[in-house]
């Protein structure tokens, strides 16, 4: 069965855990897994700019023995002159999977509706689920696990990272706290979905406005830019209301003494996070960036395994050559 990964909750708690297990094994044995040997190709399409996503998918697909086709869609006919569903159908004739960074979640859903190969969300306006797999891998490494840990995100509670923290964190059994100013709260339906997931995983979900209250005793303190891609000219004041949400030494002081700090990068130093914290001993930001590579390799392997009826962990049934 074709499995897409468009939102964080497209993986069940057990599936998310098995992808993260595989990611850890792939990190320990970086070139030992080659499910794309052939090589099979993967299309990596960008409607929006990218650095980490582009390089990590490009490198990761190569490390899996495959061939990455990295394309800026502005120089193609993608979405112009044909429906996105048709584009998904056509691409499926060429490649083993499609990775897409785009604007509206409806766009990637339309591509997926036509695709007969897995489609992976490499960031949309609503969600950034690949980043969250990397974040959870980092939390596992630094905190010894995810279940029962408190994950606090402060800043723009309405952006894609906040919404992915809600869904992925709840799936991982974490206590997720989102704190943002009035008018910058996550979509209520996403919060509700996260609450439903948390009810089954033993996690919890809270949306708050007080950053100190949200950060209190947190195991993980995460933030993101106050102005996400495409919001540069949305007319909203994206500085003044956010100033109390800056991740600085004082806010970090409310978190658990051994808390880690996450930021999906690029960081606007001096805005949402201070140099002192980003470069400080509690920062796990650059491990988090590296883990994009390992987490995405594991995700691709899992989805290709699901597509061919192979083992979820991808070790045996997807052509691994060790």
């Amino acid at each position: 069965m074709i499995r897409h990964f468009l939102r964080d909750d497209d993986l069940s708690p057990a599936e998310q855990s098995s992808v993260l297990d595989l990611a850890a094994r792939m990190k320990a044995d970086r070139f030992g897994y080659q499910p794309l040997a052939g090589p099979r190709s993967v299309a990596v399409l960008f409607d929006k700019q990218s650095l980490r996503t582009r390089i990590s998918f490009d490198a990761g697909i190569a490390e899996l023995g495959g061939h990455p086709l990295v394309v800026d869609t502005q120089v193609t006919h993608f979405g112009r002159g044909e429906t996105l569903a048709d584009a998904g159908r056509v691409l499926s004739r060429y490649v083993a999977a499609v990775v897409l960074r785009t604007h509206g979640d409806d766009r990637i859903a339309e591509v997926a509706s036509g695709a007969s190969v897995p489609v992976i969300n490499a960031l949309t306006d609503g969600f950034h689920p690949c980043q969250l797999l990397a974040d959870l891998l980092t939390i596992r490494e630094r905190c010894g696990g995810t279940a029962g840990r408190t994950l606090t995100y402060v800043g723009d509670g309405a952006n894609n990272m906040a919404q992915s923290y809600l869904l992925a964190g709840a799936t991982a059994g974490m206590h997720v706290r989102i704190a943002g100013p009035d008018g910058f709260a996550p979509d209520a339906a996403v919060v509700r979905r996260a609450g439903e997931i948390a009810a089954g995983t033993g996690g919890s979900v809270r949306v708050l406005t007080d950053p100190a209250q949200a950060a209190r005793d947190a195991d993980v303190l995460a933030t993101d830019t106050w102005t996400s891609m495409g919001q540069e000219a949305d007319g909203l004041d994206r500085v003044t209301p956010f100033l109390p949400y800056q991740v600085n030494k004082e806010l970090l002081g409310h978190a658990a003494p051994d808390a880690i700090v996450l930021h999906c990068l690029p960081a606007h130093r001096g805005e949402e996070i201070t140099d002192e914290v980003l470069d400080g001993p509690q920062s796990a930001v650059f491990d988090q960036a590296e883990n994009r590579l390992h987490a995405q390799k594991a995700l691709l392997t899992f989805l290709l395994g699901a597509a061919t009826g192979g083992a979820a962990t991808g070790d045996t049934a997807t052509g691994t050559t060790r």
Binding site: H175, P186, V191, R192, A194, G195, A198, G200, S204, T209
Partner: protein, 405 residues
């Protein structure tokens, strides 16, 4: 009269009248009386037993909690109420705070008291509303027969017709502390307001700086196929009260407040000994998890629709229509014979609630199966026929006898 019912009449206050049945056990949507006879329970403890009787998730959660930490009062923190508050706020999707009580009336009392902390005292409620029977909640309840014997009640409550936007508009002023509404009036016979009524109430209260309090004691926690009925309307109230289905059979009420309303109650201003009891909260956590994990919201919509369409399709002359949402349905009758119909159905093995003389209320467990719906639909025509001769203003459709009106 059974011996248990006889003992009941000799030892219990008579405020309920004498119950017709003594029930001794239950499993899922079926209950068993002391003679061993089974009934399909379409009353569900008056919309309380969201997961039916003896649901394994509730049994396990309650057993584990009572064996771990039973009650601590609110002088100390226990984990289950905190987790439940977080979960309810997550389902609402908005920042806020929760107060736990033991019942719907107490949840509404808390909302009433909270509204006084705005510095205003005028309250608007609706005719036909049912918000409970404690003195404060009774003042909000818009049913004179229940309220009149107990006057004077806490004052400054204006009652307006339910569903009438113009009446609401006229009643609310800058001196109004709160407007309290049910998204569907359950106790008044499952009365559904016109589309846009809640949104209009939101606009009117916002314009006057009054709180909008939605009494979701009966409609909340999946009863209408949504976590909260107001979510279907896209309305954001200041306060939501819950009870009934929340505890899945254990006593639990909750008052959820959002925005500035969340900070109106301050230390010492309100309290309860049992509210937020860890055992009740553990049950509620199991209820919500089960509804979420088993897709019961969609199930409620599907099964509720099957029930509604099935009743309407009977085309029986005693049936006027079906109103409500999800598994909160009122079957309206063309004659005031609901108690007779309830008795006929009970004789056939189905428990329903004659909520008004001309309305039978169906509020079964949310786990009601399609097969159980079909069994009820199969039995309903004969019960209606048995009821029909009792109506003075219509000609019986059959010659069936046995009415005990």
């Amino acid at each position: 009269m059974s011996s248990l019912v006889q003992r009941w009449t000799q030892s219990m206050m008579d405020n309920y009248g004498t119950p017709p049945l003594a029930l001794v056990s239950g499993a899922g949507a079926v209950v068993v009386d002391e003679a061993g006879r089974e009934y399909l329970d379409l009353v569900g403890g008056i919309a309380v037993n969201a997961l039916g009787h003896a649901h394994p998730a509730v049994v396990a959660a309650v057993s584990k909690q009572v064996a771990t930490l039973g009650h601590v009062s609110n002088l100390y923190v226990a984990e289950p109420p905190v987790a439940l508050a977080e979960l309810l706020l997550a389902l609402a999707g908005r920042p806020g705070r929760v107060f736990f009580a033991n019942s719907g009336a107490e949840a509404n009392e808390a909302a009433f008291k909270l509204s006084r902390r705005t510095g205003r005292t005028h309250v608007v409620a609706t005719n036909g509303a049912f918000h409970g029977r404690t003195m404060g909640a009774l003042a909000l309840t818009g049913q004179p027969a229940k309220a009149d014997p107990f006057r004077p009640l806490p004052g400054e409550v204006t009652h307006v017709d339910y569903g009438d936007v113009a009446a609401l508009e006229a009643a609310v002023s800058d001196a109004t502390a709160m407007v309290i509404l049910e998204p569907i009036q359950g106790e008044n016979g499952v009365v559904v307001p016109p589309a846009g009524y809640l949104a209009a109430a939101r606009r009117i209260t916002a314009r006057h700086g009054a709180l909008l309090v939605l009494d979701e004691v009966q409609t909340g926690i999946g009863r209408t196929g949504h976590w909260f009925a107001h979510q279907a309307e896209g309305v954001e109230p200041d306060v939501v009260t819950l009870a009934k289905g929340l505890g899945g059979g254990l006593p639990l009420g909750a008052t959820m407040a959002f925005g500035r309303a969340a900070d109106l109650l301050t230390p010492g201003s309100h309290g309860t000994t049992f509210g937020g009891n860890p055992v009740s909260c553990a049950a509620a956590l199991a209820v919500v998890a089960t509804i979420a994990n088993e897709g019961l919201l969609d199930h409620v919509k599907r099964v509720g629709e099957r029930l509604r369409r099935g009743v309407e399709a009977l085309g029986h002359p005693l049936i006027d229509g079906v109103r409500g949402a999800g598994l909160l349905l009122g079957v309206t009758l063309t004659a005031p014979v609901a108690p007779v119909l309830a008795e006929a159905l009970r004789d056939a093995g189905f428990l329903v609630n004659a909520v008004q003389p001309g309305v039978v209320r169906l509020v079964p467990p949310l786990i009601l199966t399609a097969a159980q719906v079909d069994a009820f639909l199969a039995a309903l025509p004969a019960a209606l026929d048995a009821t029909a001769p009792a109506t003075a203003d219509r000609t019986p459709t059959t010659t069936t006898t046995g009415t005990t009106a």
